[in-house]
């Protein structure tokens, strides 16, 4: 699954990708939208299991209520 597909499914996952920008050294939402999660993990030396865990946690979290 690409980063774009993940973001399309759950926009709140953007916060997870932003957290990894410092480690990746690039804006993942700019530079890696069409990479699969596995490809991005290899390219930017990220911990794939940790990233997947955080994404799953975020997707399982209910969205905050709107005002």
């Amino acid at each position: 699954m690409t980063l774009l597909e993940v973001l399309s499914l759950c926009r709140r996952t953007e916060a997870v990708f932003r957290r990894y920008e410092a480690q990746a050294g690039v804006c993942l939402c700019c530079e890696a939208l069409f990479d699969t999660l596995a490809e991005a993990a290899v390219k930017y030396r990220l911990d794939l299991d940790k990233l997947l865990g955080e994404l799953q946690t975020m997707m399982a979290t209910e969205a905050p209520p709107t005002a």
Partner: protein, 200 residues
């Protein structure tokens, strides 16, 4: 089939692509124009639309980019309309060689280098540069004209480099400038251009 317009100026990635995707996913969109104001959005929206089967035309409009995606197989009038709305002449230069003229290959190589260095004098009218066959060697590591090509690219001239040709010469991983492209994009570019100059 519908036409849609999106204004994504002021939006940071990934919003322009996500909004473009939302429109495309609704289906039945023959032509979609997306306005963006940064290079990352320009590249990502263009790539997304191309992946979805659209031919993409990039134009500068008042400091922003207008990305128009047209579905192939749409009414021919749609493509004509896109070309007619631009105020600038679109000149496409097709280079299928790494030498200009016949008689002496060393001289021919130098002549082509000079031609490419001088191309910038066309100004805003120079729209796209397509490199085919031996012409792809101009866009790879070690090319004498890399700096000139990069200068053209920085001036918003789109450089399309034939992927099949790069692969044939085993130069795919040495491309330094331009976008790797295919014959469909090249043929569509020739159709959309106001003038085609061919060096083969």
């Amino acid at each position: 089939m519908r036409e849609e317009k999106l204004d994504c100026r002021g939006l940071a990635c990934p919003s322009p692509v996500l909004q473009t995707k939302a429109v495309v996913d609704r289906g039945d969109v023959a032509k979609l124009t997306v306005l963006v104001d940064n290079d990352a959005a320009r590249e990502n929206v263009s790539r997304f639309l191309q992946n979805q089967g659209y031919t993409v035309i990039q134009e500068m409009r008042e400091g922003s980019y207008a990305l128009t995606g047209v579905r192939l197989g749409s009414e021919p009038a749609l493509i004509t309309e896109v070309a007619a709305t631009s105020a600038d002449t679109k000149i496409l230069v097709l280079v299928g060689t790494d030498k200009l003229g016949r008689g002496d290959d060393v001289l021919g190589g130098k002549l082509l280098q000079n031609f490419l260095i001088t191309l910038k004098e066309m100004g805003k009218d120079l729209w796209r540069l397509v490199l085919l066959n031996a012409g792809v060697k101009l866009a790879v590591t070690g090319s004498e004209v890399l700096a000139s090509l990069m200068e053209l690219e920085a001036a918003q001239v789109q450089i399309l480099v034939c992927g099949t040709c790069l692969d044939h010469f085993q130069l795919l991983d040495q491309k330094q400038v331009g976008e790797t492209t295919n014959m469909l994009d090249i043929v569509t570019s020739m159709q959309l251009a106001d003038k085609v100059i061919s060096l083969t």
